[in-house]
C-alpha cells in the first residue's frame, strides 16, 4: 500500500502518542495542514510562531512529554528560532517541523526559503532535512528518540513541500539505533562508592539540585535521599519544586537572587554534591571562589557539562534518578554534620527573603506571596523574565516537580504567556498562574486569544511596575541611575487589551484591599487578567553582584 508524505506524518505522530500540535500554517505546509483538517491530532493555532514554540515548551515541561510544533518555511521558521534556542538552553524536548520550499527550489532563493538547517545547527540537539519521502517515518522516529533521551533537547525536521506530497509504499520501521548516540544512564558503581565515602567524611555537605532531576522524573527519589542523608539542599531556579519550599533541609534558591542561607551554604560547604545542574553563571558567578576548599561531586547525563565550569573531584555521568536510586541503598552518618545543619538553618532564620511592607503602594513581592497563599502553593506557575520572575522564585512556595515553568538559561522575555497557555493545555484541570511584567506582556499577549477558544482558565498576573524593572534595577545599581529606555511613559490600557480578548480583568491599586481582591479574583472560574499596579521603584534583593563570590551578597537584611 502506498501512502503520501502527509499521511505518514500523521501516522508517525499518532505512533508517538502526540496529543496536540502547536503551530501556524503557510504555503509550504499547506499539504500538512490539509491532513490536519480531519482532526486526528488536535492542532492549537497560536497567533505567532514564537507563541507556538513557547507553548510547546510549556506543554513539555508541565506534561513531561515532548512538545510538537509545525510552522511554515522562511519567516514561519525564523520566528521559532528564539523558542528553539530557549529549549536548547533548558534541555526541553521539542520536535519542530518546519516547512521548506519544494526540493527543486532549495538553494535558489525561492519565495519564503530560509536555510533553517544552517540556522538551527547551533541551537538544536539535532536537525534533519527530509530528502526522500521514504525516509520520513524513520526520521520522525529518530527525532523523537533523540529529543527525549539523554540530555533532552529540541530537534528540527525540515520538510520540503514536494516530499509531503510524494508517495511511497508503507514499510514497518525498525527500532531506532544510532551507534554514535548512546547516552549513558547507569552510573559507574565505583563512583557511587566514592560519593558515599565523601559524604561520610564530610562535616559540611550540601546538595545543589537542578532541572536534571525534573527531566529524569527523580523528585520522589530525591526526597527519599534527603530523608536518608539529612544534607541541606540548595536549588537552582529550574530546580525549584523538587523539594517542597517548607522542607526543613531546604535553604532556597542559590545564586544571583538566591537566599542568603543558600549562598552561604554553597560557599562554606566542604562537600558540594551537584545533581542535574550545570553551574550556570547565575548560580556560580565566580566559579573559582565557589570551588575553593571543597570536594565537588557533579552528576550529569551530559559528560560535556562535567568540568566545563568547575573542576570536579568525583564526576558521575548518568541519569539523576538512577544515581539517586543507588545512593538510596546506602546509609549515611548524618550526625557528622548535625552542627552544620544548625548553622545553615540559622542563616535561614536570620535572613529570609523579605521586603518592606507599606500601605502606600503595592509591593510586588507581597502580591506574589499572597498568590502563593491563596493557591496554597499548588498552582502551576509560568513566568516571564525579569524582576517578577525572581520574586516568583523567591516568594512562591513551590512543592511539586515541573511546577515552575520559566525560561532559565536563555532568559527569554515573551515566554510567560504562551508557555503558561501550553502548560494549561497539558494540565486542563490544574490552576495555572501566569506571572508577567508589563514589558513581557507586550511581547506575546496575542496568545491570550487562545484562552477563550479552548476554554482555558489561567490567571494572568500582570505585575505592572511601569518599567522594564530588571533593566531599571541594573541601571539604578550599576549605571548611576541613568534609566536609559527602561521606563514606560506611555502604556496601553491593559484592561482594554484583556477586554479585547473577551477576558475578565481587574486592576488592583490598593495595598489595603489587595488580599481581599485577590481572593475574590481567584474565586472566578474563568480566565482573568489581574493587573497589579505595583511600586515602580522596587529592587530584587538580595543580590550577588555579577562576577562576585556567592557570599558577597548585597541587600541582605538580617533580623
Amino acid at each position: 500500500m502506498n501512502k503520501k508524505g502527509t499521511e505518514l506524518f500523521i501516522d508517525s505522530l499518532l505512533d508517538e502518542d502526540v496529543e496536540m500540535i502547536f503551530g501556524y500554517p503557510g504555503g509550504a505546509v499547506l499539504p500538512l495542514y490539509d491532513s490536519l483538517y480531519d482532526k486526528k491530532i488536535p492542532h492549537i493555532l497560536t497567533r505567532h510562531e514564537q507563541g507556538a514554540v513557547h507553548a510547546a515548551e510549556g506543554y513539555a515541561k508541565a506534561s513531561g512529554k515532548p512538545g510538537v510544533v509545525l510552522v511554515t518555511s522562511g519567516p514561519g521558521a525564523t520566528n521559532v528560532i528564539t523558542g528553539i534556542a530557549d529549549a536548547m538552553s533548558d534541555s526541553v524536548p521539542l520536535i519542530v517541523f518546519t516547512g521548506q520550499v519544494a526540493s527543486s527550489g532549495i538553494g535558489k532563493d525561492a519565495f519564503q526559503e530560509a536555510d533553517i538547517l544552517g540556522l538551527t545547527i547551533p541551537i538544536t540537539k539535532y536537525n534533519y532535512q527530509v530528502r526522500k519521502v521514504e525516509d520520513l517515518p524513520k526520521v520522525i522516529k529518530e527525532a523523537f528518540h533523540i529529543a527525549t533521551t539523554g540530555r533532552k533537547g529540541p530537534v528540527v525536521i525540515d520538510l520540503p513541500k514536494d516530499i509531503t506530497l510524494d508517495e511511497t509504499p508503507v514499510k514497518k520501521i525498525a527500532e531506532v539505533h544510532i551507534p554514535s548516540y548512546q547516552p549513558n544512564y547507569m552510573p559507574h558503581p565505583n563512583q557511587i562508592k566514592k560519593v558515599v565515602t565523601a559524604i561520610n567524611q564530610a562535616s559540611k555537605p550540601v546538595f545543589l539540585i537542578g532541572a536534571g532531576i525534573h527531566h529524569s522524573d527523580g523528585t520522589t527519589e530525591f526526597r527519599e535521599l534527603l530523608e536518608n542523608s539529612k544534607i541541606p539542599v540548595v536549588s537552582t531556579l529550574l530546580g525549584l519544586g523538587i523539594v517542597p519550599t517548607d522542607n526543613d533541609l531546604f535553604l532556597g534558591m542559590g545564586g544571583m537572587h538566591g537566599s542568603y542561607a543558600a549562598n552561604q551554604a554553597l560557599m562554606e560547604a566542604d562537600l558540594l554534591i551537584n545533581i542535574g545542574s550545570r553551574f550556570d553563571d547565575r548560580l556560580a558567578s565566580c566559579p573559582e571562589s565557589l570551588a575553593k576548599d571543597k570536594t565537588i561531586i557533579h552528576v550529569d547525563i551530559d559528560p560535556a557539562e562535567i568540568g566545563k565550569i568547575i573542576p570536579t573531584d568525583i564526576p558521575i555521568v548518568g541519569d539523576a534518578k538512577e544515581v539517586i536510586r543507588l545512593l538510596n541503598k546506602e546509609t549515611f552518618n548524618t550526625e557528622n554534620y548535625a552542627d552544620w545543619r544548625d548553622t545553615v538553618k540559622n542563616y535561614q532564620t536570620e535572613a529570609p527573603f523579605t521586603y518592606e511592607e507599606t500601605v502606600e503602594e503595592i509591593k510586588p513581592q507581597r502580591a506574589i506571596e499572597l498568590i502563593g497563599k491563596i493557591t496554597n502553593g499548588e498552582a502551576i506557575v509560568a513566568t516571564d523574565v525579569g524582576q517578577h520572575q525572581m520574586w516568583a522564585a523567591q516568594f512562591y512556595p513551590f512543592k511539586h516537580q515541573n511546577q515552575l515553568i520559566t525560561s532559565g538559561g536563555l532568559g527569554t522575555m515573551g515566554y510567560g504567556i504562551p508557555a503558561g497557555v501550553g502548560a494549561q493545555l497539558a494540565k486542563p484541570d490544574k490552576q495555572v498562574v501566569i506571572i508577567v511584567g508589563d514589558g513581557g506582556f507586550q511581547m506575546t499577549n496575542q496568545e491570550l486569544a487562545i484562552l477563550e477558544q479552548y476554554h482555558l482558565a489561567p490567571k494572568v498576573i500582570l505585575i505592572n511596575n511601569h518599567s522594564l524593572g530588571m533593566v531599571r534595577q541594573w541601571q539604578e545599581s550599576f549605571f548611576n541611575e541613568r534609566r536609559s529606555e527602561s521606563v514606560f511613559d506611555n502604556q496601553p490600557d491593559f484592561q482594554k487589551m484583556a477586554e479585547a480578548y473577551h477576558l475578565k480583568s481587574v486592576r488592583l491599586d490598593n495595598a489595603e484591599t489587595l488580599e481581599e481582591e485577590l481572593i475574590q479574583a481567584f474565586k472566578e472560574k474563568e480566565p482573568m487578567v489581574i493587573e497589579i499596579n505595583c511600586s515602580p521603584t522596587e529592587h530584587v534583593l538580595p543580590m550577588v553582584p555579577p562576577g562576585k563570590p556567592n557570599n558577597e551578597m548585597i541587600g541582605v537584611v538580617k533580623r
Partner: protein, 161 residues
C-alpha cells in the same frame, strides 16, 4: 599548543558544518581541517589541527565534539604515537636556466614534478607540515606563483603489544 584531533563521524549532509560550528562557537582556531571517507563508506574521518592553550581546553573540545549526535569517536592524536601527512602542490616560475637547479633543490624533500610548461612547473610534495614549510621556503626565491595545501590527515600507529 598545536593539537591534532581525529574524528570519525557519520557521513551525513550537515556533519562538517556541525563540527566546524562547535569549534567556532567555542572560539577555537582551526589551523586546518580535512575530510574524507574511511574504509566504511558511511563513515568519514575529519582531521582537525587546532591550537589550544591548555589540556583543559582540549578536554572540553573533545567532549563537545563527542556530544554531537553524528560523532562516533574523537581522539587527540597528538597525545599518542601517530603518523601525519599533508599534500601540497606548488607552482613555481621557471626559466630554461634554473629548471635543473630547482630539480636538484627539491630532491632531498622527495618531492616530484608533476607538470611542466614554458614558464612554470608544478611540484608535488607529501609529508609533515614542517617538511612542506621547509620546501616552500626553499622555493620562495624562485617565485611561487600558486600554492595549494590539503591540510593534515593522520592515523594512530598500531600499538605494539
Amino acid at each position: 599548543m598545536r593539537r591534532i584531533i581525529s574524528a570519525k563521524v557519520r557521513n551525513t549532509s550537515g556533519v562538517l558544518n556541525r563540527i566546524s560550528g562547535v569549534l567556532t562557537r567555542r572560539q577555537f582556531n582551526i589551523e586546518s581541517i580535512s575530510v574524507g571517507v574511511t574504509e566504511n563508506l558511511d563513515v568519514s574521518r575529519i582531521t582537525i589541527v587546532v591550537s589550544v592553550d591548555s589540556d583543559f581546553q582540549m578536554e572540553q573540545l573533545i567532549k563537545q565534539l563527542n556530544k554531537q549526535i553524528d560523532v562516533i569517536k574523537v581522539i587527540d592524536m597528538s597525545a599518542d604515537s601517530h603518523l601525519e601527512r599533508e599534500l601540497a602542490l606548488i607552482k613555481v616560475a621557471t626559466t630554461s636556466t634554473n629548471r635543473q637547479e630547482i630539480m636538484s633543490m627539491i630532491e632531498p624533500f622527495r618531492a616530484s614534478i608533476i607538470d611542466v610548461s614554458g614558464q612554470s612547473i608544478i611540484i608535488q610534495i607529501a609529508g609533515s607540515s614542517e617538511k612542506i614549510d621547509a620546501l616552500v621556503d626553499v622555493l620562495k626565491v624562485y617565485g611561487i606563483q600558486e600554492l595549494a595545501r590539503t591540510g593534515i590527515t593522520g592515523l594512530l600507529r598500531s600499538s605494539i603489544k
